[in-house]
Symmetry: C2
Subunit: 220 residues, 2 copies
């Protein structure tokens, strides 16, 4: 009964556990990621996972660091501005692929190696671009706040496509006293709900506004 011709079952490793966990979160959402479900996905009992992660928090920390691995490291070769722009777009692309990640960064506080390497490369590109240490701190703070904040906003939207947006808006307008929020309604109907509008495109506007500001700070 035991040693029959089962498929040999690849051995569990921390790496494989993290990979499957990320995939599961991508497909089913973070709230569907329990130790038992993850075990099931790996064809293993939940408790076996504890040989490779200390506990669920450790699992989540590992997942975040795995996500950071996917972000392109900025290089200062084409100047700080190009480097910052490219890495901002890369962060955003990655956070779009892994929508659950932004919600986790809130609570996971101790950075893993990929996270540290990322931060180091960003700071390095700014320093190489001629930013002083305090200026670098400023720049790093605005940029990261903006990038993560935008991802947070985008995640909060109850829709992804324009069609969904229209549906949701209709449902909302049906429920709320429309004339109490005239400006909100104006913005929604005259702009956000127009065909072709995509909130995602706001990202680059804000990004360039901030980069312009940093440019002025840097070379006034």
């Amino acid at each position: 009964m035991t040693g029959s011709a089962r498929e040999p079952r690849r051995p569990l490793t921390r790496r494989r556990v993290l990979e499957v966990a990320v995939d599961l979160a991508d497909r089913k959402g973070l709230e569907a990621l329990s130790m038992r479900k993850l075990g099931e996905a790996l064809e293993v009992e939940a408790m076996s996972l504890y040989g490779h992660v200390a506990n669920k928090d450790d699992l989540l920390d590992g997942m975040i660091d795995a996500v950071f691995t996917e972000i392109d490291l900025p290089s200062a070769d084409d100047g700080w501005r190009a480097a910052m722009r490219q890495r901002a777009l890369s962060v955003r692309a990655v956070l779009r692929r892994h929508r659950w990640a932004i919600g986790l960064m809130e609570s996971r506080t101790y950075p893993g190696p990929a996270t540290l390497a990322h931060h180091d490369a960003v700071i390095g590109a700014l320093r190489a671009g001629g930013f002083s240490v305090p200026q670098t701190a400023h720049a790093f703070s605005v940029l990261d706040s903006y990038i993560y904040g935008f991802a947070l906003q985008e995640k909060g939207l109850p829709f992804q496509t324009a069609d969904e947006a229209a549906e949701v808006a209709q449902a909302m307008f049906a429920q709320i006293p429309v004339d109490r929020y005239p400006h909100f309604v104006e913005l929604a109907t005259q702009h956000a709900l127009q065909p072709g509008y995509d909130y995602g495109e706001e990202f680059e506007f804000g990004l360039d506004l901030i980069l312009d500001g940093l440019e002025r700070l840097h070379r006034p």
Copy 2:
């Protein structure tokens, strides 16, 4: 045994449930807020709460809206820039009081009345300041992304005071290969860990940078 001279026990209302829930989350953290614990704090069984909130998600939605109630609504009387600056500071102050809230905005998608009123006032102040509808959308997006992103960053810090920061830094440097992250270490030791440094002060730098950018967009 039943009808003895108990203190009369104020009746449960949705309002009171939300108040106590917010207070509990403030004091013990969001993960300590369960229906049972909340019931205990209200001297009531958990199931009794369901007369006043539909389920836990509804409770969380209500808590978020309660938080928005505390934010000062911007008025356009002193110009859009002053209005945006003051409301940004107010949002930040409120999110500092209720650190759990920022982590919730990620997933709560349907805005309550206070949230809508807030958004409406912000949009109204920008429109009154002369921003076109698309410009208003841009401005709203950058500002909110930045404000919430900054709060997220701040929440992610594993320390609050400078002393704690030094402790945490020491613990971290002891664990990681310091020479692999030279720029990160430089920024930390030469700047962030200096006495008197407070990450919170970075907020206004970024805020003013963005407001400057919006001013240029608006009156080029």
